[in-house]
Point group: C2
Chain length 180, copies 2
């Protein structure tokens, strides 16, 4: 292990050779900090007519309701990421049915892949959730959803319930202002 | 701009508070280098019975044939990334038809989203390609494809040609050894 330097690390914006964009390049060692969009993997998990929602115990949007979803980690598949998030946020075990939606949120450089999955145990709050809820359609706290894409995924779920063999939904028309 | 430090930057593996995994943490400033899987966006672009392939002019797999595809950049949607890659690698303009496949390659922490698209101009090699080819099915250089997922996407394309409204393909069964 190299000893810790005792000066601040500094990066400058430069366009590396052969590249077309400015990247953050370390002024000391030339390390190029390529930053790419991050993948959020999640599930609309249901049991009968009820859908699993989690109340966020952490920022952003603490106190608001969301679907189990989070950033994919290195070394896992998208489905494994979604399964891990269901466990971490709602102690939920799920069986995947289909890829429900692929949302692009360029404003925050996220791509969200949401699966429909059957819930096969009794969920309970994980460390990032203060509550979990198995909500019938009319019991969903629509005014207290954490993110626009939670609503989109719930609506995609309702429109495709029981079906497989469909193309995943994308960003709904007219939502550009929320994503750019 | 902070002046450049003149010592090497050093990172240590540590588990940040509230996290469950080791991350690279800067010994100087505490910067946490979260690394997440990267998204590759690409197209199987076709014109009539021919499919657009590019011969790689850069490593890895220089000299081998691939589909236009590459890492998504910040601030773009998945489709925009795939469109940009088609332009950069093959000067190709495309019309998207459907999401053909979502491949997870945990070994290299990639998720690949491949679209089927109609080619609407005459392609030519961009800076990262030495040649482009509009190949009939039997003219595809099967033994000289750059990556396993190129073959998977070509096969998914052939199985779904002319169809829309299907669930995107995933990693083919039996390919674990190539992705883990």
């Amino acid at each position: 292990m190299v000893n810790a330097p005792t000066v601040p690390v500094s990066f400058s914006l430069k366009t590396p050779e052969g590249d077309e964009r400015d990247r953050r390049v370390c002024d000391t060692c030339g390390f190029i900090d390529y930053v790419n969009p991050r993948i959020v993997a999640g599930v609309v998990a249901y049991s009968g007519d009820r859908i699993l929602l989690c109340r966020r115990a952490i920022e952003p949007r603490k106190g608001y309701w969301t679907l189990p979803a989070g950033f994919m980690e290195q070394g896992e598949s998208v489905e494994e990421g979604a399964r891990r998030e269901a466990r971490e946020e709602a102690m939920a075990e799920v069986e995947f049915e289909t890829l429900l939606a692929v949302y692009s949120i360029p404003r925050i450089s996220q791509v969200q892949l949401m699966y429909r999955a059957r819930l096969i145990n009794q969920p309970s709050p994980g460390p990032e959730s203060s509550e979990v809820l198995l909500a019938g359609w009319d019991e969903i706290p629509w005014l207290d959803l954490a993110f626009p894409s939670v609503k989109w995924a719930l609506e995609a779920f309702r429109e495709t319930k029981g079906r497989t063999g469909f193309a995943p939904y994308g960003n709904p028309p007219g939502t550009e202002a929320l994503t750019r």
